[in-house]
């Protein structure tokens, strides 16, 4: 195998909202894959840990003109300006970091001491605090993934784009004698679980990857682009009202014409 540095990547997602049915399979897959803990009572959604969360949007019109759209929201893995994600720079203990090799915003639960500044700084509410000790129903702990450490009480956690899968994929390609990953080598659990194929994952800078083209769709957009967070999750919707809900616009402004494209 040739030695040397791998090319820097920017892993990201393109989620086709026209395809998403809101089934929630991505949420379930994410929880199972990443050992996300849960409680007996999950009625208060502001206390539920959902690395991937599906929002239900409506156009606000009464029947029969009412339309619904489901919007899955993982961590946006914001690049900000030169890797200055909203959450990364604020963390006082470097428990979260922007990885320039992959573009993934990491989370190090064993470093985190639970100040929750990152949660306050994240406009997407993609970060979750462990308010309780993680407890699984008896016997279920045997089904936890050995690749992901469960998080303890008092620390923050979030979507990692299944970073452990990236590490496993690197081992796989090393054995194959390759230096670079193929598109299929590294896919997130939510991507694979989506029955509608609404989620596409890959390197946003690699022309060979599907996400490269999909993000160029004229109907592609990102959440809250105007804030300068520079997220790596793109959405596609053919509905103007959906695109308009993704950011703050003055009445005279057109979607897609303003915002911080980086």
């Amino acid at each position: 195998m040739k030695q040397g540095h791998r090319k820097n990547k920017k892993f990201g997602m393109v989620i086709d909202l026209d395809k998403c049915t809101g089934c929630g399979a991505c949420m379930v897959a994410c929880m199972a894959e990443n050992n996300v803990s849960f409680k007996k009572d999950e009625t208060d959604k502001l206390l539920s840990i959902t690395w991937m969360k599906v929002y239900k949007l409506t156009n606000g019109k009464p029947f029969p003109d009412m339309e619904i759209c489901y919007l899955p929201r993982p961590c946006m893995h914001c690049e900000g300006h030169n890797g200055h994600s909203p959450c990364v720079t604020v963390c006082p203990v470097v428990a979260t970091d922007y990885d320039v090799d992959t573009g993934i915003v990491s989370q190090i639960p064993t470093r985190c001491f639970g100040c929750r500044y990152c949660m306050a700084a994240c406009p997407y509410h993609a970060r979750y605090f462990n308010w309780w000790d993680p407890v699984w129903p008896e016997g279920m702990e045997k089904y936890l993934s050995p690749n992901v450490s469960p998080r303890m009480r008092g620390v923050v956690e979030k979507c990692t784009f299944c970073f452990h899968r990236y590490q496993l994929a690197l081992e796989k390609v090393y054995v194959r004698g390759q230096r670079e990953l193929d598109e299929g080598d590294y896919q997130t659990a939510c991507t694979q679980a989506c029955p509608a194929g609404a989620i596409t994952f890959g390197d946003l800078t690699n022309k060979e990857h599907a996400v490269y083209k999909l993000k160029e769709d004229p109907h592609a957009f990102r959440l809250l682009e105007r804030l300068g967070t520079n997220p790596k999750v793109y959405y596609v919707s053919s509905h103007e009202w959906v695109r308009r809900l993704a950011d703050n616009y003055h009445p005279h402004e057109e979607t897609g014409k303003v915002g911080g494209h980086h």
Binding site: V90, A120, Y124, G154, L224, L227, N248, Y249
Partner: protein
């Protein structure tokens, strides 16, 4: 029974009455301690916080006590750097209040973080120099040390301790070099007060809190330092006057109050002009560039209306400033009480808004406002510093010469 410990030439209430007062404050303190243990043992789920309110009542209380405790560093600045000699008659009390406020602030942080016992040290060991919170942690801790150094000579001046030659000389020598510590305190305070403002101001994902920067510092950095220096003395005056009411004695001469109130008034006036300019720029330039209007943040919810901005800037900013800068305002007992109380409310309101309203505002357009209600353990632990403060002031007042003019103002008839 404890007369040997009481400073000479002053009168104090009977010991049982004093102990009774301590017991009342002690009960409240114990209630808070019980809540702390509950939080540490059970976890932060016993609070009303949630994933939208990672910062809540405690962080507000933390910011508020630090701002109110700003009277310590600012009076130190006036006394030792500017050379306002009259301030020496209130500085001991200001330092005592400062010590209480900063111990409270650190205690609150120790309850607030998720892993206080095993990982709180990470902030010093794994420090991220880019984080405003790191700067807060370092400067806050260092400044508390400075405040304790400023408070120690006061303790050493207790009648019995002062009899020991070593402590007498130590106290004397510490007084001699106090200007160095006062200057260090001012330096540290400017940074941690500012960094607390920076905590909110750098959050570019939260348009309600985010402010434009000067170099690496958002405008809130300067506004927080300025407001602490401006409103902190209001709290010192308020508590000194409250102590006078409770003890039924004059403890500080009017000219001292007048000087501090006048300086505080001008500081508030200049601060509020800067705050208005900041608010205008934010509303007219920053927000529109992000697709927002000012009223996005003051409508469509049950609590946060434009009234809160009017209250902070107008009622609790311009009004106390105007009272305190005028001789007539300062000479009226009612008006000075009104001004210092409004001032204290004003700076607390500012900290409330920068923390809790920031959390309440929906950051995603299809999300909604979230209001939050603290639980009793949060309330108990937030009241704890008040009980702690009452106890420290009671003990300090009884046994230490914190009011140098007391003897002169209250001569004991033979």
């Amino acid at each position: 029974m404890d007369s040997a410990l009481i400073p000479k030439g002053v009168k104090r209430c009977p010991l049982p009455q004093f102990l009774g007062g301590l017991a009342v404050a002690g009960v409240v303190l114990l209630w808070g301690v019980y809540a702390i243990l509950l939080i540490w043992i059970k976890g932060l789920h016993v609070t009303g916080m949630n994933d939208y309110y990672g910062f809540a009542l405690w962080i507000w209380a933390d910011l508020a006590v630090i701002a109110l405790g700003g009277g310590a560093f600012f009076t130190g600045f006036l006394r030792y750097i500017v050379g306002k000699d009259e301030i020496k008659n209130i500085i001991n009390f200001a330092v005592t209040i400062g010590v209480i406020c900063y111990i409270s602030a650190l205690l609150i942080l120790a309850i607030d973080v998720g892993q206080p016992l095993t990982r709180a040290w990470h902030i010093f060991w794994h420090a991220n120099v880019h984080s405003m919170l790191t700067e807060v942690a370092f400067c806050l801790s260092a400044y508390l040390v400075v405040l304790i150094i400023e408070y120690i000579p006061l303790v050493l001046e207790n009648r019995q301790i002062d009899k020991v030659p070593f402590f007498h000389h130590l106290s004397h020598n510490m007084h001699e070099v106090m200007a160095v510590f006062a200057a260090t305190g001012v330096f540290l305070s400017c940074f941690h007060q500012g960094s607390l403002g920076g905590v909110a101001g750098v959050m570019f994902g939260r348009p309600f809190a985010f402010r434009e920067h000067l170099f690496i510092w958002p405008w809130t950095f300067f506004l927080f330092t300025w407001s602490a220096a401006a409103y902190g003395p209001c709290f010192t005056i308020f508590l000194a006057k409250l102590t006078e009411k409770i003890t039924g004695k004059r403890l500080i001469k009017d000219n001292v109050y007048d000087l501090l109130a006048k300086i505080s008034g001008w500081m508030i006036l200049t601060y509020i002009i800067a705050k208005i300019a900041d608010t205008w720029y934010w509303a007219a330039v920053t927000l529109p560039s992000q697709g927002h209007t000012l009223m996005d943040f003051y409508s469509n919810n049950a609590f946060y209306g434009i009234w809160i901005l009017v209250a902070e800037i107008g009622v609790c900013g311009i009004l106390p400033a105007l009272i305190l800068v005028t001789k007539k305002g300062r000479s009226s007992s009612t008006l000075i009480w009104t001004a210092v109380i409004l001032g204290c409310i004003g700076v607390c309101l500012n900290r409330w808004v920068m923390i809790l309203q920031t959390m309440a505002v929906p950051s995603i357009p299809f999300d909604s406002w979230q209001l939050y209600m603290p639980t009793w353990p949060e309330v108990a632990t937030t009241i704890l510093p008040v009980a702690f403060g009452v106890i420290v002031v009671m003990i300090s007042y009884r046994y230490l010469p914190i009011f140098p003019q007391e003897q002169e103002l209250n001569p004991i008839e033979p």
